[in-house]
């Protein structure tokens, strides 16, 4: 198991847990949570610099970029054009040509606009980006993203920040079966068992933000997610027993005293 590395495009990661940098009580707590999680990839958002208030600390002061790969996202973009523009800005602000691509279709659910997502993926792949699209848990959309050149597909488990857990396990299973690229369940995790479940279904990785940042103790939750993802991965590789309707004794039925 020691060599169970996580490969996306040309990069190898030690951890199959990818975590966000938003909504923590403080940057210091975030840094501790990152450490506890064992993750080696974190997502960040691209936003205008606050010109009027330059006192704000820089997020990057709290991310050890020698250990953590920084993945810019296009969160908040509602069109392919906006997402492509934001991805290009993220590339210039950062150190890589990777992007977590989001094209949102609806404000209340934050569900992706899959049509625009496929279009933006195609454009960015042509420009040399390594594109990791956040998508619906739809195997057909995932296939289209893969055909468009996505380096991984990232189906949602449930709406962003909802903590509802995996709402459509069968789709995640089918997406894994269909995909030739890594499948990362992105969004919807509420607690450790959700992450384990995603991995047991065959996900290659899990991406989360709110489940850790919004927990009462984000550092402890980050640590729990480290084990949860690992446990789910090991269980998947180990091969679970088939489900049966009735009992099968674990102890021998022969040699019982008094029979």
């Amino acid at each position: 198991m020691a060599s169970d590395h996580f490969v996306i495009a040309d990069r190898t990661f030690q951890s199959r847990l990818i975590i966000g940098t938003g909504k923590y009580p403080s940057n210091a707590v975030m840094a501790k949570a990152h450490e506890a999680s064992g993750a080696d990839m974190v997502t960040v958002a691209v936003r205008r610099v606050n010109i009027s208030d330059r006192s704000k600390e820089s997020l990057l002061d709290y991310i050890d970029t020698s250990k953590m790969f920084v993945l810019p996202n296009t969160a908040g973009c509602y069109t392919a054009d906006e997402a492509v523009r934001t991805a290009r800005l993220g590339r210039e602000a950062g150190l890589s040509n990777w992007v977590k691509l989001e094209v949102i279709g609806d404000e209340r659910t934050l569900f992706p606009d899959n049509e625009a997502l496929v279009e933006a993926t195609r454009i960015l792949v042509r420009e040399g980006f390594v594109v990791l699209p956040y998508t619906s848990d739809d195997p057909i959309v995932c296939r289209k993203l893969e055909d468009a050149g996505a380096a991984a597909v990232m189906p949602l488990g449930a709406p962003i920040g909802s903590g509802l857990g995996i709402q459509n396990p069968n789709n995640i299973r089918i997406i894994r079966e269909f995909s030739r690229v890594p499948v990362i369940v992105d969004a919807g995790v509420g607690t450790a068992s959700d992450a384990t479940f995603a991995m047991e279904l065959g996900a290659d990785g899990v991406l989360m933000n709110t489940a850790i940042a919004g927990a009462q103790d984000p550092v402890a939750m980050a640590e729990s997610m480290k084990y949860a993802v690992r446990a789910g991965r090991l269980a998947r590789l180990a091969g679970r027993i088939p489900r049966k309707m009735y009992a099968t004794a674990s102890s021998p039925v022969e040699g019982l005293v008094g029979r």
Binding site: G20, R48, V49, L59, R88, A93, N209
Partner: protein
């Protein structure tokens, strides 16, 4: 001169290079991306790119997100 910086009007002495503009705003050039009149600049172009009256400049950086 008046420019539009991150969507808001700003009065700065100029014309000015992007590097000098960032310096005057106390912004670390290594941590931002700059778009000048809708063209995203390579960092190497910050010195040579001059911001003129009426130009539109966007300066972005990384913030927390998921």
């Amino acid at each position: 001169m008046n420019i539009t910086l991150n969507g808001d009007p700003l009065d700065v002495p100029g014309p000015v290079s992007v590097t000098a503009l960032l310096e005057s705003l106390a912004i670390d050039v290594r941590r931002v991306a700059v778009e000048h009149n809708l063209v995203i600049l390579k960092r190497a172009a910050f010195d040579a790119t001059i911001v003129h009256e009426g130009d539109n400049v966007e300066i972005v950086n990384f913030v927390g997100g998921g």
